[in-house]
Amino acid sequence: MNEYANRYYVVLILMLSVGLIFVIRLFSIQALDNTYKKSAENNSRRTVIEFPTRGLVYSRDSALLVENLSSFDLMVIPENVQEYDTVAFMRVLSLDSAKFYTAYNKAKKRPSLPATVYKEIPDSIFTKFQEIKWMFSGFYLQTRALRYYPLKSAAHILGYIGEVNKNIVASNKYYKQGDYIGITGIEKTYEEILRGQKGKKMYSVDARNRVRGSYKNGEFDEIAISGKNIMLSIDADLQLYGEKLMGQKRGSIVAIEPSSGEILCLISSPSYNPNLLVGKNIAKNYGQLRNDKDKLLFNRAVMAQYPPGSTFKIVNALIGLEEKVITIYSHFNCSGGYHVGNFTLRCHHYSSIDFFYSIQGSCNAYYCNVFDRILRNKDYSTIGKAYTKWRDYVLQFGLGKKLGTDLAQELKGYIPEASHFDKYYGKDKWRPLMLISMAIGQGELGFSPMQMANMTAIVANRGYYYIPHLIKEIEGIDTIPSKFSQKQIINIDSSYFDDVIKGMERVLLPGGTAPNAFIEGLDICGKTGTAENPHGKDHSIFVAFAPKINPKIAVAVYLENAGYGSTYAAPLASLMVEKYLRDSISHPEWEYRLVNTTFKYKK
C-alpha cells in the first residue's frame, strides 16, 4: 500500500487548490466587486414617492379659484393577482373589457410594479368596489389629486396642469415620468410655489416584495412639503361679471388697480370651462379646444395685437406736450379731415380745434398735426432720430415691449423701428405723411389689451406704473416677487397728464364721443377707439379709469368687429367700473343690451 504513497500529496494538493480557487473567487466578489452591494440594496429597498398636495388659489375677495379633488385609480400589481371572478369584476366596475385587458397585459410585462388599469373611477363604482375588493387580490385603489376650478371661470388666467413631457424630465431632475406640472397660466408661473416638494419613504422589502419596515429607521426618508396657497389680485365678482357681459363675443377686458399694478380682471373671450383640461379627458378636450374656430386657447388679453385706434391719441398728446411741439393752447384747423396735397385723412369736425376738445371729440386732423410736428422737431437732425425719440416714449408706456407680467404667454406687440422705414423708403428719405396713420393709432401698430390697460393705469397714476401682476399673496411669505413692487416712471411731466385727463373726463360728457357711457358720480375718464382691421367691421375699443382723483381702476375693453368704440365698448367699460366701485349696476338696460348682442365674425 505504500507503492502509491505519493498520491497522498496529489489528493492533498487537489483539495488545497480548490480551496485556493474558492478564496480567490470570494475575494473577487466580496472585496473587489461592488456591484453585488448595489444589487443587494436594490433587492431589499423600495422607495415610495410621497406627493405633496398642490397649493390652492384664491381671489382677492377670498373666492376659491382652484382646489384639489381626490379621485381614485384602479391599480394592479400583476404578480399578486390570484384567480378571480372576471365576470363579477367587470360588472362591478362597469369596465370596458377590451380596454381593461389592453392595460392589464401591458402591466404584466413588469409584474412586480404597480400599474394603472382604470383611471378616475366614478364615485358610485368606488363605493361598490370598496365592499368587494377583498375578492380581488393584486388590485387596489390609489388616490390621485385632480385640480378643480369651482367657478368654472378665468381659464386663461389659471391655466392647467398636465403630465410632464420627455424634455422636462430630461432637463429638470425634480420631475419624473408621470408627474404633473403647470402648463400655462399661473399654474405654470407659480409652479414651484404651488407644487411643494416631493418626499420619499424608503422601506425594506423581502423577497416577495412585502414591506418589512422602514429602511434604516427612516434615516433617508424625506417628508413631502405641501404646496403653498396663493391669493390672486383677481376680483372674482368682477371677473365673472365681465365674462357674463362678454358671453360668446370675441374680445377682451383687462382691469388694473393703478396704484399697485394688480390685475383685477383679465378676460379673453370666448373662453372655456377650465375643468375640461383635467384628468383623463385632457387630451381629447385639448384637441377640441385647440381646433375650435374661436381659438379658445388663445389668450387675447396678452397675446392679441390690435391697433390701438384713437385711444393712442392720449399717448401722442402727452409726447407732444413733453417734447414741447404743442402746448395746451395749441389749436389746429379741422376741415373734415387732414389735407396735404391730394392726401386726405378724414375727420368729422369743421372748425378750429383746441387741445381738450381734440381728446373729447377725438379729432384726427389735430393729431395728424401733432404727429407731424413731433417728427419734424428741429431738436433732432433727421426724421429717423425724431421718430426713434417718439418710439422710446411709446415703449416707456409699455407698448410694444413685454411688460413682464406673471402670464408667461404674454407677447410684446409691435411698433416698427426707424430702420424699418429706412429699409422701405431709403435712409431718412421718408416723410411724416408716409406714417401719418400712426398719429391716430392705426397703421403698423399692434398692442395687447393688457398693454392698453397698463397705459391707462399710467395716465391714471399721472406718469408711472407697476408691472401688472396677478399674484397678491403667497402663503407664508410676506412679499411678492420684487419686480412687481418697483415703480416704473415715464419721463413725462405729471402736469401734462392732468391736462390730458381733463380731456378724457369730457369724453363721457355731452359733446364727447361717449356720453352714452356716463354714470353719475363715478368720475370716469376715458377715451374711445375704433380700430380698422382686415377682418370685417372695426373693433370697438374703450379705455377708462375712475375716479379721476385717486383712481381705483383702469380698464381696457376690446370688442372685435363691434364698430365704434362708443357704441358697445364704452358702456361695457362703465359697467365694469361701476360694478367694481359700487358693486351694483345703475343701468341694467345696458347690461341687457350687451349680454344679448352678438357680432358677426368672418371665419
Partner: protein, 473 residues
C-alpha cells in the same frame, strides 16, 4: 478494559473539535437564516434553528453510540449494511413521497429521513472492505469492475430517485481507487471529456476540432521528435480542408465547417495510418483514436443537445454552464446567492444584519445555500475561515488515513475525505457561481437531521477506527 481505556485516550480530539466547531458555526448561521423578530427564543421547535438543536443533540448521542461499537462490527457488517441500504433505496424508489421533485424521502410517522444520505457511509464501508481484501488488485479487471459496481449501484438508484446532486457524490469515491493505484490517465481522461463537454457550449465545434487536432499533433511531435512522419498527413489535412471549403462555397452547398474538418481528418488519417503501420507507432495509434473519440463525442453532444433534449432541458444545461443569464428563472438562486455573498464585503454586515438573508432573497438558505449567510453576515473573513476549517479537516483526515495500519481503515478514511470534499466543492462552488446548482448540503452546516447524522456517523466511524489503530496487530 485496557482496550477501552486505550481508544478513549487515542481519540483524535483535534478532529472532534473541528467537527464541534463546524456544527456550532452551522447552527449560528441557520439561526440567522431563519431568524425573525417574532421568534427570538433559541429553543423554539417551530423554528428550524430550534429543530436543528434537537438534531445536534441527537447527533451527539449517535456519535457516542458509533464510538462505543466495536471496530470489528463495521468491518464484519460492511457488506450487510451496504446491502440493507441498497434495499432501502429500492423501497424508497417504489414508495417514497415526492419532495422538491426528488423522490428520496422515507416517512415514519411525522418523521422523515433521506436514505440516500446514509448510503454514503455504507458505500464507503463496503468499498473499503472490498479494497482491503488481501488479494485485491486494482489492475485486475474483475476487481476493478467490482469496485466500480459498488460505487455505481447506489449512484444509479439515487439518479432514478431524480436526485442528481446526491448521486454525483459517489463519483468522488474514484479518488479512493486512485489512491489504491488506478492509473491517473483514466481520471485525466474523464476530466478531459468533462472539459470538452462544457467547452462545446462555449466555443463552436469547428474551433474545438482544430484545437484537438493541434494538441494531438504537438503531442505526437514531442513523442517522436520527427516532423517527417506527421508532415504528409498535415499537408493532406490542410489541402483537403481548403479545397472542400472552396468547393462548398462555389457550389453553394450548405455544409457546416465542422463536417469539412471531419472529412479532411479522415483523408489525412489514411495517409498517417500508413506511417503507423510501417513504423509500428503504438502511441500514435492511441492519440489518433483519442482524436476520433473526442470529435465523435463533440458531434454526439451537439446532436443530443439540439435534437433529443426539449427546450426546458436545454435551458437548464445552458444556465448551469453559465451560457445563459436568467436572473428570474433557473439562474435566480445563483444570482441571489452571489448578491448575498458579494454584498457581505470584507468583514460582513454582522450577525442578524444581512438584509438578503433576513428578507429571504435566497431560496433554501438554511439548507443548500447556508454559505450565503456566512458570506453576507461575516464577509470574506467568515467565508475564508470556513473554507480553511474545511481544508484543515480534510488534511487531518488524510493524515489520519495515511497512519492507519489496516488497509480497511485507510481506504475508509480516504472515502470519508473524498465524500466531504465533493460536498464542499459543489455546495460552495454553486453559491459562488463556479459549480452547477445541484442540491447537496454543506457538511455539518446545512439544516437537516438526515445529512447531519449521516456525516456524523461517517466521520465518527473513522475516528473510532483511528483510535483503535494500535490494537489491530
Amino acid at each position: 478494559m485496557s482496550n477501552t481505556r486505550n481508544w478513549i485516550i487515542n481519540l483524535d480530539w483535534f478532529t472532534i473539535s473541528l467537527y464541534g466547531l463546524l456544527v456550532f458555526l452551522g447552527w449560528i448561521n441557520i439561526y440567522a437564516a431563519v431568524y425573525n423578530e417574532e421568534h427570538e427564543q433559541i429553543i423554539d421547535l417551530s423554528q428550524r434553528y430550534g429543530k436543528q438543536l434537537l438534531w445536534i443533540g441527537a447527533a451527539i448521542v449517535i456519535a457516542f453510540i458509533v464510538l462505543l461499537i466495536e471496530v470489528k462490527f463495521y468491518h464484519f457488517f460492511a457488506y450487510a449494511i451496504y446491502g440493507f441500504i441498497i434495499l432501502v433505496l429500492i423501497l424508497v424508489l417504489i414508495f417514497a413521497r415526492d419532495i422538491n421533485g426528488a423522490a428520496s424521502w422515507i416517512e415514519i410517522g411525522s418523521f422523515r429521513i433521506q436514505p440516500s444520505e446514509f448510503a454514503k457511509f455504507a458505500t464507503a464501508l463496503a468499498l473499503a472492505r472490498l479494497m482491503s481484501r488481501f488479494n485485491f488488485d486494482i489492475g485486475n479487471k474483475r476487481d476493478l469492475a467490482k469496485a466500480v459496481i459498488v460505487i455505481m449501484l447506489p449512484l444509479v438508484l439515487i439518479i432514478l430517485q431524480n436526485d442528481l446532486g446526491s448521486a454525483l457524490v459517489y463519483f468522488s469515491l474514484f479518488i479512493v481507487l486512485y489512491r489504491k493505484g488506478l492509473p491517473g490517465w483514466i481520471l485525466l481522461l474523464a476530466v478531459f471529456f468533462a472539459i470538452l463537454f462544457i467547452a462545446s457550449f462555449k466555443v463552436n465545434i469547428f474551433s474545438l476540432e482544430l484545437f484537438v487536432i493541434l494538441v494531438a499533433s504537438i503531442l505526437l511531435l514531442i513523442n517522436s521528435g520527427k516532423i517527417n512522419e506527421l508532415a504528409p498527413a498535415l499537408a493532406v489535412f490542410t489541402f483537403t480542408l481548403i479545397i472542400s471549403w472552396i468547393t462548398a462555397n462555389l457550389t453553394e452547398v450548405n455544409i457546416e465547417l465542422h463536417y469539412l474538418v471531419f472529412i479532411a481528418l479522415v483523408l489525412s488519417s489514411i495517409v498517417y495510418i500508413y506511417w503507423i503501420y510501417r513504423k509500428k507507432l503504438e502511441v500514435a495509434l492511441v492519440v489518433l483514436s483519442l482524436v476520433y473519440a473526442s470529435i465523435l463525442f463533440l458531434f454526439s453532444v451537439e446532436y443530443i443537445f439540439s435534437k433529443v433534449l426539449g427546450t426546458h432541458q436545454q435551458n437548464r444545461i445552458l444556465v448551469l454552464i453559465g451560457e445563459k443569464e436568467d436572473p428570474r428563472g433557473i439562474g435566480y438562486n445563483v444570482n441571489q446567492s452571489k448578491i448575498a455573498i458579494g454584498s457581505g464585503g470584507l468583514i460582513g454586515k454582522g450577525f442578524l444584519q444581512g438584509t438578503q438573508t433576513k428578507y429571504k432573497f435566497v431560496p433554501e438558505q438554511s439548507t443548500d445555500f447556508i454559505f450565503c449567510t456566512v458570506g453576507e453576515e461575516w464577509g470574506f473573513v467568515g467565508t475564508t475561515t470556513v473554507i480553511i476549517l474545511f481544508l484543515v479537516l480534510f488534511w487531518r483526515i488524510l493524515i489520519m488515513a495515511e497512519r492507519q495500519k489496516m488497509e480497511f481503515s485507510m481506504y475508509y478514511g480516504y472515502a470519508v475525505a473524498s465524500i466531504l470534499f465533493f460536498h464542499f466543492v459543489v455546495n460552495i462552488g454553486m453559491t459562488i457561481g463556479l459549480a452547477p446548482v445541484v442540491g447537496i448540503p454543506l457538511p455539518f452546516f446545512s439544516y437537516g437531521g438526515s445529512s447531519l447524522w449521516s456525516f456524523t456517523v461517517m466521520l465518527f466511524i473513522f475516528i473510532k477506527l483511528d483510535a483503535t489503530r494500535q490494537n489491530i496487530l
